[in-house]
């Protein structure tokens, strides 16, 4: 089986303090993978490393045949300045960046695709609304519409269902399932184990070090989750060899 992304002794961190250590493994092309782990386990850091926003302290990320434009990334909501005066359609339309770039306008055909994406996430009628007036769930729908337009082979989602209502979560999970059905590779950071068990066939458990990676039914066990918590708690102290030998 070909891989969409492979980690080779990947170490990521900030100010030379590792947040993800010596990660090895592959995410299969077309798979739907949840990345889980306690707070501070390095989940968001891993995604940032995969986008190129964070350079590895050691090791590398190999994207195989994927290029930069084949990757779409949805950060946590807090990274977006909602007070900035742009409308929903402006926010969504930049999903077409690979076609319009920084300088070209939206032709009628492209505008129709923007409208289709907005409709697909249930935001029709909100096109002219300022982003600042949207609820958390509506903003997340708009960001999913932007991802739809990016038409990426590899989709990275960082806690996409946090602080949104149940209906929105169900709708957006439907979008994720649709991507999976289309053969795209989706990697999602999640906290809720039940959501992972129900909707994500593959799971990667992280606690700075890799705890386990494989089919969700085999990997997302109480023992592995307990081990991940122990490893993270052991890392609260000095950053030496904490938690590597927790069992």
């Amino acid at each position: 089986m070909t891989y969409a992304v492979a980690f080779q002794e990947l170490t990521l961190g900030y100010d030379r303090h590792p947040a993800v250590r010596q990660l090895d493994g592959e995410v299969a092309d077309g798979s739907l993978t949840a990345v889980v782990g306690p707070n501070g386990a390095g989940k968001s850091t891993l995604l940032k490393g995969m986008t190129g926003a964070l350079r590895p302290l050691a090791g590398r990320v190999d994207f195989g045949t994927c290029t930069r434009s084949d990757i779409a990334y949805l950060p946590q909501q807090s990274d977006i300045d909602q007070s900035f005066p742009i409308t929903v359609v402006d926010l969504v339309a930049v999903g077409l960046w690979s076609e319009i770039g920084g300088f070209f306008g939206l032709r009628a055909a492209l505008r129709a695709r923007v409208d289709d994406a907005i409709s697909a996430v249930g935001l029709t009628g909100f096109e002219s609304r300022p982003v600042g007036s949207l609820s958390g769930g509506q903003l997340q729908r708009a960001l999913f519409a932007r991802l739809l337009l990016q038409d990426a082979r590899l989709v990275l989602l960082d806690e996409p269902f946090t602080a949104i209502d149940a209906k929105t979560m169900v709708d957006l999970l439907g979008v994720v399932q649709r991507w999976h059905g289309e053969g795209r590779t989706v990697i999602t950071v999640l906290h809720d184990a039940e959501t992972v068990r129900e909707h994500f066939p593959e799971t990667l458990i992280l606690a700075r070090d890799l705890v386990a990676h494989g089919p969700t039914a085999e990997v997302l066990t109480a023992a592995n989750q307990f081990r991940a918590r122990q490893m993270c708690e052991a890392c609260v102290g000095p950053p030496h060899d904490c938690g590597r030998h927790a069992s």
Partner: protein
């Protein structure tokens, strides 16, 4: 009334030149101010305005009150401070606001020292407060050129700049324009401050950049609307400030910024979006 409003401009060439210079600064610097405000970098404009002082002072030492020398000196000093503070932020634990503050304060002290040890108080006042009523052709050409370059650059970089402000992580993920956009924007800030200081001085020029932009926040919600409102307020403040300065014998630069300040006060009290009045009567528009 007509005489009071029009006669000064009709009769005196220096008033027309001052007005044209202020309009050029308003058209160029105010849109930059809107983006500074939206990026929560209002105080960066103030810091950069101080940072250009030693460059202008060295230009003055080399060539006297030469437009070209002081402009080039100011540009080099401003860009050096912007790059140095950015470099320090990237290679040390210091945040950008702290490193910028350190560099601009050092720069300001150096500039004042150079001007005051080698020039007169009049020269220092010229650099700090400008001479809007003594703009010559070269200065007007410089101001109009800077306004044109600024509008062209903002038009070209509009989408990346908006994205750099609203969702910088997304811009970095999809494009390599993030750094180009950031540094081009900083260069525009420096360029407009350097151009503007000939008219309004290093202390006052940041006022025409930021105060109208802050006032516009209470009149518009879209970026285009904010820029239009800010430029309109800046031009109106320029006209009012120059007239007050003419009729009451007051210094022009502070009069212009105070007129913009008055517009800011009226805007935050009566403006239709986010003002005191709008908060007291949030649904007033529904009755209309």
């Amino acid at each position: 009334m007509w005489e009071a409003l029009v006669q000064p401009f009709a009769e005196f060439g220096f008033m027309r030149r001052a007005l044209l210079g202020c309009i050029a600064i308003s058209v160029g610097a105010t849109p930059v101010g809107v983006f500074l405000l939206l990026r929560r970098m209002s105080l960066t404009g103030d810091a950069m305005a101080h940072a250009i002082l030693p460059g202008a002072a060295v230009g003055y030492l080399v060539a006297g009150l030469s437009l070209g020398a002081m402009t080039i000196g100011g540009l080099l000093a401003g860009i050096a401070v912007a790059l140095l503070s950015g470099f320090v932020t990237r290679v040390t634990a210091l945040r950008e606001d702290a490193s910028l503050a350190a560099f601009y304060l050092i720069s300001l002290a150096l500039g004042v020292l150079i001007v005051s040890t080698r020039g007169s108080n009049v020269d220092l006042m010229h650099v700090l407060f400008g001479t809007v009523l003594a703009l010559n052709n070269s200065a007007l050409i410089l101001l109009c050129s800077i306004a044109s370059i600024t509008l062209l650059a903002l038009a070209l970089l509009f989408r990346p700049l908006v994205l750099e402000c609203a969702d910088p992580q997304f811009l970095r993920a999809v494009s390599r324009l993030s750094a180009v956009t950031h540094f081009t924007f900083l260069a525009l800030v420096v360029l407009n401050l350097v151009g503007g200081f000939h008219a309004l001085g290093t202390l006052m020029v940041v006022g025409i950049m930021i105060v109208p932009a802050a006032a516009a926040r209470f009149w518009a919600i879209s970026i285009g609307g904010l820029i239009l409102a800010a430029v309109t307020i800046a031009v109106a403040a320029s006209v009012c400030g120059l007239l007050v300065s003419y009729h009451f014998g007051l210094p022009s630069g502070p009069a212009i910024i105070l007129a913009a300040g008055l517009a800011y006060g009226l805007s935050l009290t009566f403006g239709p979006t986010g003002s005191f009045a709008a908060r007291v009567h949030p649904y007033r528009h529904a009755d209309a």
